[in-house]
Amino acid sequence: QENAAPQKAASLLRKQWSLYSVTPLYRFSGARLGEYARLLGASIAAEKQKGLAVGVGVDLDVAVTFRSLPELRGGQRDQPAMLVQLSSRSSVSSKSSNEKLVWSGCFCCVSGEDFSENVPEDFTCLPLFLANGAENYTAMVGSWFQKTFDCHFCRLSISPLNLSWMAAMWTGCSVEKNACATELIFSVPCLPQPLDISYAIHPEDAKALWDTVQKTPGEITQEEVDLFMDCLYSHFHRHFKIHLSATKLVKVSTAIASAHCKGTIKFLQSRHLLGVLMLLTELAISQIQ
């Protein structure tokens, strides 16, 4: 499935996404996306011009579209992903030509069936939410979803442990030649001024190291991840006499994707998009369970 490059999902690539976990949506229906778009549009317009009422369905300066992305899921048992986009239109010209995308958000669930199959029918599981754009739009859209579907949004940060998993997993994926370097950024705690250490490795060297660590292909264990990181640490120590194990891993960037501990991610390759989303779905589910 990772080979099928989803066409529509291309809009997710090369953008900085903020991660959120969302509890199951109550009485959400995939058949009513058009209606939701009109309601959300009116709600945003009303929020922007506080005190003035806005009729639902009239032309507004921010257009809302809801789009289903059925290809963005792990299997048939996952809910199809949903892309919400806000675009501003200039009121002067005709509708479609002058629209400018100002914010987008994506609800998805990739291989989250263990969780979603245990919730009652009335609930829809789309536990991972990605947002790109101004935060006040995220707040407006999120509040509307919370009020309409009785769900709850929570920032999803990525722990250093999970970041090291990402580093190992993404290193193991075969990439083309001339791929950009694998870079790990560490933050040194307890200093008056913040100090970050950047550790860049040639992707082929990193892959070679990983291949020696991994015992069975297609399967990763915590011990292997730890060993991989320890090897990198000891190499670094040999050269710089710094114990990276005493610092905090804050960012991992590879040719596949780059992730920051504060809960942001950038997808760089459509081929591995679903794989990364699967991992993030898992993190989101563990936060809401």
Partner: protein, 745 residues
Amino acid sequence: MQRKQSSKKSKQSLQVQHSNQTDLSAWRKGKKTDPEKSLQNRQSLSNSQANENKQNSFEQAVSYFEKVQDPVSLRKNEALQKHLATVESTALEKGLPPEAFDVLLNVALSGKMADAVNTRLLKSLIPASVIPESSLVSSVSWLCVSKCSGSIQLLFIRWLIAMFDFIDHKDQLHALYGFFFSFLQDEKMCPYVCHLLYLLTRKESVKPFRIRKLLDLQAKMGMQPHLQALLSLYKHFCPELVSITLPGRTKTYFKNSEGPWKAAMSTIRRRNQEKSPVSQPLLLGTTQHQSRKRKWNTQLILPASSASTSTLAEVKDKNSDLYSISESFPVEQLQTFPQLLKNIHHLELPSQMGSVLTHPLLLHYMNCIKDESIYLRLHYWMGQTLQEECTWCVADSSQYEEEFKDFLEIVHKSECFLQEGFSSCEEFLYRSLPFWDGFCCRSQILRLMTWIPLSSFSEMKSHLYGPLAQLFFTSSLYFKCGVLESLKELLQNWLNWHMIQLDSESDSHGYSLNTTLSGLVNVVAELIHFVGRISTIALRLESNATFLLYFILDFYETVCDIYLRYNLPLLIMPPAGVFYPALLSMDSVSLNQLCYIMYRYRTNLIAAKENELIKKKILQFKFSSQTYQEYNQYLIAMVGCLWTSNAFQKDVHPQGLFLDEEMLKKTRVQDFKTSFNIVYHPALMGYALLFLQQAWPDDNTFNFSLIKGRKWNWYLEYLYAQGLKGLKLFIESSINRVSPTSQSK
């Protein structure tokens, strides 16, 4: 003729209603029996002293207004002047009877009279009890034919708003919604019409074409508070049609319409205080602005508002049938318990379940419906909110501690109300206790702990007991007592829950769920053993502090009665580390408590033994002989100490007081044998001293050995009279008195 009919009709309806509403005859009667008011009456009644006359003059006035045909000038017509004055004075004094409104409104709105007369009439339309709806319907028809001037129309609308609560029925008035709506056009009337519509609007009144009209008005007039209020109400009912966000600061949305009637209204209100209809207008959904760093999820406490999703489902059908009446009852209108009872079958749940926490009526509702999705919605929301707001788990959130405290407080209150713990709270405790400093939100956390649900599969050991024990040993005496108090309440909540389960199961399954019962017994036993362990250590750490001992023994007061009071086959004796410090305590309160506990253990164990003997079949749960043995060991020690003065020889408990003769001699304590009996026991010696002073007032030698024989019995009675009830129960149940003569006293 018509007039008579209508008065007759209202009389009938009054009889049926059995209320203290006033019709003309009742009004007359009331006048007779109310001599107090005659003083006030004098000034308004210039030409008549008798009440009967006054009543007649009012009836004349009404019939005058009924018959008047042509426009009459006020200045030139003395009859009109007189009758108008009568109506005004009657209105101010007593209020007008329901029948009068039809006539007077007809006159005032038909344009027959000059505006000055109409104004005076309208201003004196103050009800004695209620205003009949029928009179309003005809008034609205006058309004629509525009016979009266604009200012009279306006005054009428204001009157209607001010008197809204006194209208007897409102069904026909609701049917006239469209007519009122059409008056929005008039710029002067618009604010008042908005107010009236605000009072009248129901879900079915909200129609797309009305919203369009209001939006047009908004476009024409700009941001007007009265339009905002009405539109926000429309949004409440139909979020699928219109959207509005009210600006932060709450202000008054409507001008006060009560002005001309204010004084009269308040007297009427006072008069029929007990029966005045309470109309509570819907609260406007203003968002409170809090200076929180976060841009959203600013409110921890959610307001209750209708579910927009459920209305979404109906919206299609509703638009096709314009006059269909929506069935569900919106939560915004739910204000009283009778309303809840009346609408319980079609109550609409709030859009966000989190809002039930601050809505006692919805909690009632939650208590009686078994819908998994309700609990699940609440569970998700609460779980996430607790996790996100937890001040010691989330960085930079310590400034919100007060807010978080309030939130925990509300959650706990709801749990107490529902008599049920939330699973999200349980998870929150397990997650956050390892990081808790035992200080932040202490009382709230300890109280939340008391509602951890009892489930037969137990993860308590690692999740609760571990972190709690660490905090317990390293914290102050008061924290220890607080923890013990919570654990006692937790135990009681579990036991109560078990009782309720037993009751509900006995109807259907009987005693079939043995597997879960044994699991349950294990979980309860685990808690009791845990408390036993930490109590033993805590007593050592705090050198047997009486305060701590009190809380420990308080816990065992529940434990010793589990079998009889809660019908759970479980009895666990306190560990020696608790028993002996209590037995040798310096404080009579602790000793008395221990005596009571031992007495209850005895009662429970005897009952268990009897049940075993009666029921021939083998019981699933039998107290092990070890429990009896342990009890007997303690009993021997206690009787040896307090009564037979041979504690050091007879105590057979491995951790007991047994000391051999040689060792005791080495202590060089004289009369060591008696040193813990009820006379010499350090907890009771004070009583013995006072007893000596009373029994031998002249003796100053404090010869305790005088207390023996008959005096011993007197001394016992003296102790009982000092409030040592536990000691009394213990001695009377567990000690075989040698001389029965003592009983005769």
